[in-house]
């Protein structure tokens, strides 16, 4: 949605005196200088060149915040009415940039060091050693392979979610009750879910599901073999996130023009025909949006794996996130773990961009 010129036109005669402009610039540069001076001083203190300093870098943070505030204020002081418009976006932009860009740059630096939190030397650059280690790390590639399986599982979730949305959209009583109930799993934290289902209901001796299976005559073992363990993780994740897709699809269904469906009925289409030829094509944009967002969430999957299987058996259920989590938690391998994370980020960006390119023509609503 690109509109030339402001959607909301404001005509104001701004006469900003030179003194006001100078004041604004002085504010920004003054606070920036203060921040730099504090940072330099603190750095000198940490490297031992200056005797006195602060315990932490917190004063530098305060100076940074002061600078950010000054920058916002200066927009209005220097640019007048135009600055007031900038002020809508600037705080959020500053917030995101400072919380993402700096850490990302920093991450890029530590990913090429041999930093282990347990070692006393601190970070030492070690060139491409981490990359070589990653190349030979079977567990990392295995985790990436698992992510492919996990992402593919979204298709099954989509089918179930679509079915539920159709059910909720049909002529039923107590629709609100069913909607609330179907929504509930989404509200539960993955950690609680991993206890409620993974550790208690699927417990081999006393869990209700194991009991049921034993009554049927199957000896339950949910996290013994790789395939079943992976399936269990997928099922638990699906259980929490199916409502998410369901609600999006339901909203799409309810926005469909009812005349078209009635017209197809008048023309003699059976239920399945009108679904295949009318509802499904019309729902394509919503479906694609829901699937894309769901895949983006899926790529962050970790909590359930960390708490139920810790990646076992033999890394069969590991997602990249849970693998790096353990790399950090158990081995304090900050440098190597960060490199893995950065590589993962690059892969995700390539994958998501390609996916968006591929599906963007279906995301538009047919006119």
């Amino acid at each position: 949605m690109i509109v030339e010129g402001d959607l909301l036109h404001t005509v104001t005669a701004d006469h900003i005196s030179d003194r006001r402009k100078r004041l604004g610039k002085l504010l920004v540069w003054g606070t920036a200088l203060l921040g730099f001076a504090l940072a330099l001083w603190q750095m000198a203190f940490e490297t031992g060149r200056v005797a006195s300093g602060f315990d932490t870098w917190r004063p530098v943070l305060y100076a940074y915040m002061l600078w950010a505030t000054a920058l916002c204020a200066a927009q209005v002081i220097v640019n007048g009415e135009k600055g007031k418009r900038t002020l809508f976006v600037l705080p959020a932009a500053l917030f995101v940039i400072s919380l993402v860009l700096f850490p990302l740059l920093f991450a890029l630096y530590i990913s090429f060091t041999d930093w282990n939190l347990a070692s006393p030397n601190g970070p030492q650059p070690n060139g491409l050693a981490n990359v070589r280690e990653m190349w030979n790390d079977e567990f990392y590639w295995n985790a990436l392979k698992n992510m492919v399986y996990y992402v593919l599982a979204v298709s099954v979730e989509y089918v179930i979610a679509f079915g539920l949305a159709l059910l909720l959209n049909s002529q039923i009583r107590a629709r609100k009750f069913f909607r609330v109930v179907f929504l509930l799993p989404l509200m539960l934290s993955p950690v609680a879910v991993s206890w409620m289902i993974g550790k208690s209901m699927l417990e081999v001796r006393f869990g209700p599901i194991s009991r049921l299976l034993r009554d049927v005559g199957i000896e339950p073992s949910f996290f013994g073999s790789p395939e079943i363990a992976r399936f269990m993780i997928m099922a638990m994740d699906a259980w929490t996130f199916i409502p998410f897709m369901m609600i999006m699809l339901l909203a799409g269904l309810q926005a469909l023009p009812s005349e078209i469906i009635e017209a197809s009925k008048v023309d003699g289409a059976t239920g399945w025909q009108s679904f295949k030829e009318v509802i499904f094509p019309l729902m394509l944009p919503v479906s694609v949006t829901a699937i894309v967002i769901r895949i983006i969430f899926k790529l962050k999957l970790a909590d359930i794996i960390i708490n139920v299987t810790s990646g076992g058996p033999g890394g069969a259920t590991d997602s990249v996130t849970s693998f790096i989590f353990r790399e950090y938690r158990d081995r304090s391998n900050v440098g190597y773990g960060t490199l893995l994370a950065i590589v993962y980020l690059v892969l995700i960006i390539i994958f998501v961009t390609a996916m968006l390119k591929l599906v963007s023509r279906w995301m538009e609503r047919p006119a």
Binding site: L87, S189, A192, W195, L250, A251
Partner: protein
């Protein structure tokens, strides 16, 4: 004679078909209801069970087992212990309070920052360097794909040097960052639905852009903001990854507390069940009473 039979047959057939479809629909609905509710039911009832009840697989309270407060006593919340001093209860309430403060304030911060940005992007044209409006929107929304692992380790080191490790402020900032793209996604949709003539009238009547925004647009967009706020609240309340890495004693949230109990050997089923129930109950209540807003928030991006 045969004509009557035929007539009867034609009239009866759709009715039978209608009934089968009814039965099928309700059967499917009830089947999924059981799938959704059984884990919650199981957790709630287990929190009132004793060890033998768990082992025997008793399920229905007052029918095959007598409810006991043992599980809730282990976090200091039972009729017997409620008047007494209890360290476990204090511990629990500390975590609960941390979770509440962190999720409320980060959702609030995200809604404020996100609404402002979304309003600006839906009304004015910006140019920051090479970035136009659509680029800025994409920049905000693209944060959604940023996996938490990438930020976690740098933040750990950064927070250590800033003295923000194991503090609520640190988590609040991160959670705000995490939900901000979602808030902007929802709010942009909301503001685009508000006719621009309203603000034009306000500007003619002498309000500034900020005056028009606060006095005219905000009240109209309030339901959307509530939706965004509640969705953020849910995400922040349930967040585990950052909390597990960046907190240790002071600022730990409920999910971390739940997770740390599962790690220990020989889980106490009743106490884990009580703890899990207490952790999920607030959001279950939110879901039941504010379902309208949650659905509104999630549907915002789907339907234009």
């Amino acid at each position: 004679m045969s004509a009557i039979f035929k007539d009867h047959d034609v009239a009866g057939h759709p009715k039978a078909k209608w009934w089968t479809s009814r039965v099928a629909i309700y059967a499917a609905l009830f089947f999924w209801t059981v799938i959704c509710l059984f884990p919650i039911y199981w957790t709630l009832t287990t929190s009132f069970k004793l060890a033998p009840d768990v082992m025997r697989g008793n399920m229905v309270p007052w029918w095959d087992f007598t409810p006991r407060w043992k599980g809730w006593e282990s976090i200091g919340l039972s009729p017997r212990l409620i008047g007494e001093v209890s360290t476990v209860r204090e511990e629990f309430f500390k975590r609960f309070w941390n979770s509440t403060v962190i999720s409320l304030s980060s959702s609030l911060l995200a809604v404020v920052l996100g609404s402002l940005a979304a309003y600006g992007l839906s009304r004015f044209n910006y140019r920051f360097g090479f970035m136009r409006n659509s680029d800025i929107s994409f920049f905000f929304l693209s944060q959604m794909i940023l996996p938490p692992v990438v930020l976690a380790l740098p933040f750990l080191v950064l927070y250590k040097s800033l003295g923000l490790l194991d503090s609520r402020i640190g988590l609040i900032l991160l959670y705000t960052l995490m939900v901000l793209p979602i808030v902007i996604w929802i709010m942009r949709d909301q503001f685009q639905g508000i006719p621009i003539e309203l603000e034009e009238a306000a500007l003619v009547d002498g309000l500034g852009v900020w005056g028009a925004f606060i006095q005219i647009v905000l009240p109209i967009a309030l339901p959307g903001m509530v939706a965004a706020f509640i969705l953020s609240l849910v995400l922040c309340w349930n967040e585990y990854f950052f909390a597990a890495l960046l907190t240790s004693t002071n600022a730990t949230t409920l999910p971390v507390m739940v997770a740390s109990q599962t790690g220990s050997q020989g889980i106490n089923w009743w106490s884990m069940a009580a703890l899990s129930s207490a952790a999920i109950l607030p959001l279950v209540i939110v879901a039941i009473f504010l379902e309208k807003y949650i659905i509104k928030g999630m549907a915002a991006g789907a339907v234009k």
